[in-house]
């Protein structure tokens, strides 16, 4: 199939490449010339504007958005929707909040445009291994794009599917990321405990590698732990500063909204917040309070 890929960043460029390798035609749009020429070298076309991109696509058009979630997505849609017409299909493959997706899908539907939300997991490894795709939107539109999904996913029938109506794909990806926070934190805590048990002087890479085979905790994230530990066992030069990109906090908010207790996913998020709370006003106040009632010494700064 021929499709336009809007956004040739880390994710978009890789997906375009995987599509090209799978025999599809990709017209890529990106503000950076080097991103466009990289695509061309892989056999794709490129465009310098939404207008140019749309002009290069046969109708009904097929466009894949792979831009940062939030304002950029809205800005792109504002400019793009007037260029499209009934029968065209738009796929948002980014990490959009599903509330935004519901709103955007409705906006697109008013123009007769099919809007699919495609939660996309796999990170930078997706190019080689395929992407896990959780798709929300109309059944007919998903079916029409089957060849594209079959190429992007790890296998023809594996690792992708329509999980529900508009929004369901991004909701599903949101929860996926919430789980991911919990899993990562569990491993990080475990390796930290091992490291602090100095009497046993564990080789964390060795432990990770033993666990990778046959153990109950084997997983792809554990494979990555092994990689990371091998590269830098002391984590030298890496600040204890853990970013979060939104889906974790959305999952926490959604769980509360649904009255579902999700303490592990929630605490995994809060630990990330704590990693970035350089000031730690709460801890200072606690130290001051201990001094107030018990006369306990305060550590000076």
């Amino acid at each position: 199939m021929k499709l336009g890929m809007i956004g040739l960043g880390r994710m978009g460029a890789n997906m375009a490449q995987r599509l090209l390798r799978g025999g599809h035609h990709v017209v890529g749009l990106d503000p950076k010339p080097e991103a466009r020429s990289a695509l061309e070298q892989q056999g794709g076309e490129s465009a310098e504007s939404l207008q140019a991109l749309v002009a290069k696509l046969p109708t009904p058009r097929l466009l894949w958005l792979m831009v940062p979630a939030g304002d950029v997505t809205d800005a792109t849609l504002t400019n793009l929707l007037p260029l499209l017409g009934a029968g065209d299909t738009l796929i948002d493959g980014g990490n959009s909040n599903y509330h935004d997706t519901l709103r955007r899908a409705e906006m697109a539907a008013e123009q007769g445009i099919d809007y699919l939300d495609c939660g996309t997991s796999g990170g930078i490894w997706g190019l080689a291994e395929g992407y896990s795709l959780m798709i929300g939107g109309g059944e007919a539109a998903v079916e029409r794009l089957r060849p594209v999904f079959e190429t992007l996913a790890p296998g023809k029938e594996r690792g992708w599917g329509r999980v529900g109506p508009a929004g369901a794909g991004h909701f599903c990806k949101m929860v996926h990321n919430g789980i991911e926070y919990g899993l990562m934190q569990a491993y990080a805590e475990g390796f930290s405990i091992l490291r602090h048990k100095e009497a046993f002087d564990f080789d964390l890479v060795q432990v990770a590698d033993i666990w990778r085979e046959g153990s109950v905790v084997r997983s792809w994230l554990l494979d990555l732990c092994s990689d990371a530990l091998q590269k830098n066992p002391q984590m030298i030069g890496i600040a204890p500063y853990v970013a979060d990109s939104g889906e974790g906090r959305w999952t926490v908010a959604e769980a509360i909204e649904l009255n579902v207790p999700a303490p592990v996913i929630t605490l995994a998020l809060l630990q990330r917040l704590r990693s970035r709370d350089a000031e730690s006003y709460a801890d200072r106040l606690l130290a001051a309070l201990r001094n107030e009632f018990g006369g306990h010494a305060i550590k000076k700064e």
Copy 2:
């Protein structure tokens, strides 16, 4: 090699079978006649007493304990150690607390017996897929048993290793199980959130299967989630009652002892406690307190 397997329960019987398949000779001991005859039918020998077992083993003897951790292990050792002599090797493959292991290894060393602690992961799947083995104890003893470990593990060089001195193996297994608690809880929370989002009417088996391919959260536990969800998507007849077998709480205690904050592993344990706290005195008191200050209605029971 020829070795004695003490305890032919779920784990011991499977490990004996895997060893037999690998060309080793196994003499099994178990109070249950059917456990002994099952082993014989697979080509092993059996014994009805520790004395008989020890008599059937060539010196230096090799004995593998696969009995419930705690008192049973101590009782077995009390009876077994007087029957053994310098140069024999004892392996505790159960989920013993590493503090107990340190004490027992010392006791064995006084008799010149090598004591190895072998944390064993893989559950009922280990027979077919091999066991992940984290071994603590003397290097020479571990090296001597290499053929046994190579057979039990998923591969000759994979999934097993000596991780440190006596106690290190069980410590490592303890942390493994702590991580396991966190991972399981993260998935359970995620699927619960999906289930409660009724508007999207997710098919949880489908979601699990999509995630199993290419996603960041793919893992062996996710494979098992898919199995469990397929068998019983509504979890009908399964009480929301989650047991714990010790390693989780030991991990929590050890983390605190080491001053390592491990909130996710800890909360995963506490949620299990909560699942079994039928009375919930705390929650009743909270309801009573809300009534005290705000006049809020109490739900009657």
Copy 3:
């Protein structure tokens, strides 16, 4: 001063009574005739409609809203604002979300109406002991109402104050309630631990009463614990079902929005959700998972 009190429920009726006792004139509005006649018996006036209420107040008018937060507040404002004019003052004493307050204050300001948000703590005890009042809004308006606040608060200069511009009062009350969740949960956990230590057979009322004098944990909530424990030490007939009325979850959401880790307030909320999660899908799935990998028995339901 003369003011209209809209809503004569548990909180509104008590506040009206305290104002009457303090020499103010109160015109009360409530759909329930018995609420209105109760006010009249205490020396107040009543009205059966917003129009009638507004007609009974001298200009510039002073109106206090004590209605359930959310839709009821908005509906009341929709009907009320057209009846008011520049110079009038509206106080929202309910537990409104501060985002709503910001919107409403702006709406009122367009008509020249002063809008104050007054976070009100004290519950059913406020009538006797006075209310803790956290007020947001214009300084001049707050100053104008000083006599009202001085009567409602526990003392002339104590327990009330303007804490900031519009929204600040409700924000402050929201955080107050978040803290309250944490405090309550801490006590409930502590008493639950004492109760489960059967060997010591603690008398929880006695313990509470010892702690009420001189201890670090003495507090008003502990006084209420003592009351509640005395009335019903076994908590018989009280379901372990803990409601939440919104401020707790807003605090959790706001903390995350501000990147402030607040694990204790958050967990206190999540435990309330858990108390109401009768189905516990997550726990069932955990039990099923343990069976999958370890063959561990499932408790039947």
Copy 4:
């Protein structure tokens, strides 16, 4: 009554002083000469050795231990017990682990010595306001010491009591401190949220003072928050480093032992551990992992 006070540190010196003011006779023992002479200036006697102390007390003797819990207590008892005889009474007023208390009480009983454990709350404020005393041990011994407890407590019948047999007093104090951790953390989180809401520019002292009167969260700890905030609203020079002295972690361990979920007390402890985890290996590994799968940038150190 006449009693020996062993340990004239922050707590012991104040308690001796309160006893002197109450008309009791106190012989104090402390390695520091200035501690001893301070006591003498207040009308007490002092001794330079256990032998000298014991010699100055009439039989049956009454001795109060106010030394650091743990090894110091055991060392003191080892030297002291041989000097005592049947009918004497020993009170451990420190924060001993109740398991140690059970052991020590048994040891004392073998000599016919009454051993009381007296959980003591109130901190440096106890001198002026009285101490909250939770006492474990034999009824007759507690009754015999009534005059001492009545003087130390905030009132004759208030703030003290025998809560159960040996160990019950220290168990009760342990839980008291667990609750204290939860309460402190709840306030610290709340004030931190307020502080980070820069748009409202809250005056935290003012907010604390409003809450101190009439609100649901009023408490003695809140009074101390107000003090601490007033002295140093920005917490300048106070490191975000929160010590813990044992009872919190014992409470967490005991709750798990009793299968009581206590997430708030537990998390309050874990946050203290986190405040002292300067290295944060877990957070570094999380940052590395995010880079592994998503190519997300790592913050350099």
